[in-house]
Symmetry: C2
């Protein structure tokens, strides 16, 4: 059964470690010798409570989450959080500044790709505040239209005392990501924000859906909220992790009495935090698989191990793409220094070449390389479960493809 | 591994058929010979799309859902839908009657237990309408406080042209359920509502979380919305099914322009319906397991088979409880005719007797019989995966317990 498994370079839901899946398969029938499958056990049982606590602590220890921050397991994906952060951060702002008018409350959005754009659109839909674009990366793109870069620090215009500053660490569709190197120009301008905030708590919110647990989160403690759908590095779809700082867990009903929008119970952070993620039945199986993934991560050496591995994987693929670009076969879609470690995107030039590339890859057992339907091209997603060997196989295939195509070009 | 499985009478997450779990365990590693596990495959792949369509059609055919109604797979559980129905039904009402003031819009709630009470509380939290209690079953209880009955039809006071009429078919905590027999006084007053509506479409909303797929849904076509968390008869936690009539899928953004509350994207019914449940990544593994459960249901004879089985199971357990009541050992918690087929609740009289009952059951491999933490006592949940043999074992245990306790009572 398992020998027929292919390499899944899909952008999510994405590959999971085979050892985890094998253990999960056993747990479906009998969870930790309880005689009850994980999908059947009560979420309030002592066995599941212990598992949930262990899973939380595996995230806390590996990401170095300070005690000021809660870690919550919920549902609804990144899209659910696009709404949740607006409601909860505006409720917080209402309690801090009850006398401001709605148009005196500002939400700052950093737009670097399709997902931050969607989050920004949701803030506009929900209303209740002035929605400001702190920077739009498209203005700094090669063609003035594409999300192909992380803009330089000088271009960000943040508001004075915003209710929220929002960014997306890794843009899965567009293949751009903030750097993890604090000296790089594509590092997020945390220091700039800290200086401006003048020791006040930053209302900084980050979507980490597609890079969560792939490497450490810089300035984690300065964040108000960090959220992530699990279905990239952490587990299957149907689970959302939210890390929230204590001051962002406010009584949304009191805020509503002061004029803030009422917050649906299931996305009110105080509901989720006060109940420790079990206000209602949580997505038990996705949590279980995520927990197994986290255990395996810890065994392998934790986030440092994966940071190092993911860096090397990305560098290898980018080098291969660059070679293709130099050979006139490929075209990178992202500006130098802005490329994602998780999703490497490029175009293949020449008629029918993209189809040839995909068909050939599939023949060698490599799937999921087709780019997002909105932007086309090729996308190789290199989440944690993709091994160095998987990447070597992809790179060898790319090298050979470049050779073969090169030979076709009339000299 | 599987020989150690116990009988799980828990109220949810609840027992799943072993054959389904065995198949799901294989699918975790290799979904339908794709070489990719179900937790890893793209929700937009042709293989998963086909599975999703098949799962939908298994619900449609077995429940006899007419083409006027969409079937949607989403996340957030019943609690998420408590909010969703208020937003979406008020948006619909806004478009039908744009000139009414908020206090001229009414939401009618039928209160028969803890879950309808929670839904009612959420409507009050969200505001934007006059929230009316059409009937409160506590007024008709033995002690004036407990949810122990389905009230008689004459006691319902519905509003004129409400934006929503809300009820919960089966109350998991309190063990009361509307009858499936249209001649019973505890049948929901559908005919009364139809007469009043005078051929207009009823804004009837039902929470079927704990009875979904256990028996046919009476007057299904008259419902505006029926929703259900999957974790009782259908599958694991993390999946919510919503059946919505076409006229309830409205453009919530247009309604918001007319003054309705903006609706978070993930709970806007037009987002879910227009994208056919894949606006964002759906909970793929829970959907997979629910699909396998539905396939097995169809093989066994469909809803008619389970209706008949569930009726017999409930009758046997109620008969045993009645015997215990006559012997002065048990006390039923629900009035005659209002008892749930899914959750049979009763108290055990005498000091330490409840603990003895639970400990003895556990020793014989029967778990999950402790009542809900809010009401205590015993609760035996008899969802679809509980077999006739499982019930026979429980009944034999109850009979023996009654005998043993009876012998302790000094004559």
């Amino acid at each position: 059964m398992t020998s027929t498994r292919v390499i899944n370079f899909g952008a999510g839901p994405s590959a999971l470690p085979q050892s985890v899946l094998e253990k999960a398969a056993e747990g479906l029938l009998n969870f930790e010798s309880t005689g009850i499958g994980i999908g059947e056990i009560s979420h309030r049982s002592k066995e599941f409570s212990a598992f949930l606590a262990r899973t939380e602590s595996l995230i806390r220890s590996q990401l170095n989450v300070p005690p000021t921050h809660h870690i919550i397991f919920t549902q609804g994906g990144g899209t659910g959080q696009f709404s949740a952060v607006v409601y909860n951060m505006l409720a917080r702002h209402r309690l801090l500044h009850p006398d401001l008018r709605d148009d005196q409350r500002t939400l700052d959005y950093v737009l670097t790709g399709s997902w931050s754009k969607k989050a920004h659109e949701e803030a506009i839909r929900l209303g209740g505040a002035n929605v400001h674009v702190a920077v739009d990366a498209r203005s700094y793109s090669k063609d003035g239209k594409a999300f192909d870069n992380i803009p330089p620090h000088a271009e960000y215009t943040f508001s004075r005392d915003p209710a929220m500053i929002y960014y997306c660490d890794n843009e899965t569709v567009d293949g751009v990501q903030f750097s993890s190197d604090s000296n790089a120009p594509t590092f997020f301008p945390f220091e700039l924000l800290k200086r401006r905030a003048n020791s006040a708590l930053l209302p900084l919110v980050a979507d980490y859906s597609s890079s969560f647990m792939s490497r450490p989160i810089p300035y984690l403690a300065e964040h108000a909220v960090i959220f992530a759908g699990a279905q990239k590095n952490l587990g299957p779809a149907g689970l959302t992790i939210v890390i929230m700082r204590q001051d962002c867990i406010v009584d949304v009903d009191v805020a509503a009495k002061l004029g803030a929008a009422p917050v649906p119970k299931m996305i009110a952070y105080n509901t989720l935090a006060d109940s420790k993620s079990i206000y209602n039945t949580p997505p038990v199986i996705p949590i279980y698989i995520a927990g197994l993934v986290l255990e395996r991560m810890a065994e392998l050496g934790g986030l440092t191990y994966f940071e190092d591995l993911n860096k090397r994987k990305a560098e290898k693929v980018y080098a291969a793409v660059r070679a293709g670009e130099e050979g006139g076969i490929f075209q990178s879609k992202v500006q130098q220094g802005s490329g994602s470690w998780m999703n490497v995107v490029f175009n293949i030039l020449g008629e029918g070449a993209e189809e040839r590339f995909l068909a050939g890859a599939e023949k060698e057992g490599m799937k999921g390389l087709k780019g997002h339907r909105l932007v086309g091209g090729i996308r190789a997603s290199l989440y944690n479960a993709i091994t160095a060997q998987d990447v070597d196989k992809l790179v060898a295939y790319i090298d050979k493809f470049i050779d073969d195509e090169g030979n076709k070009i009339p000299s």
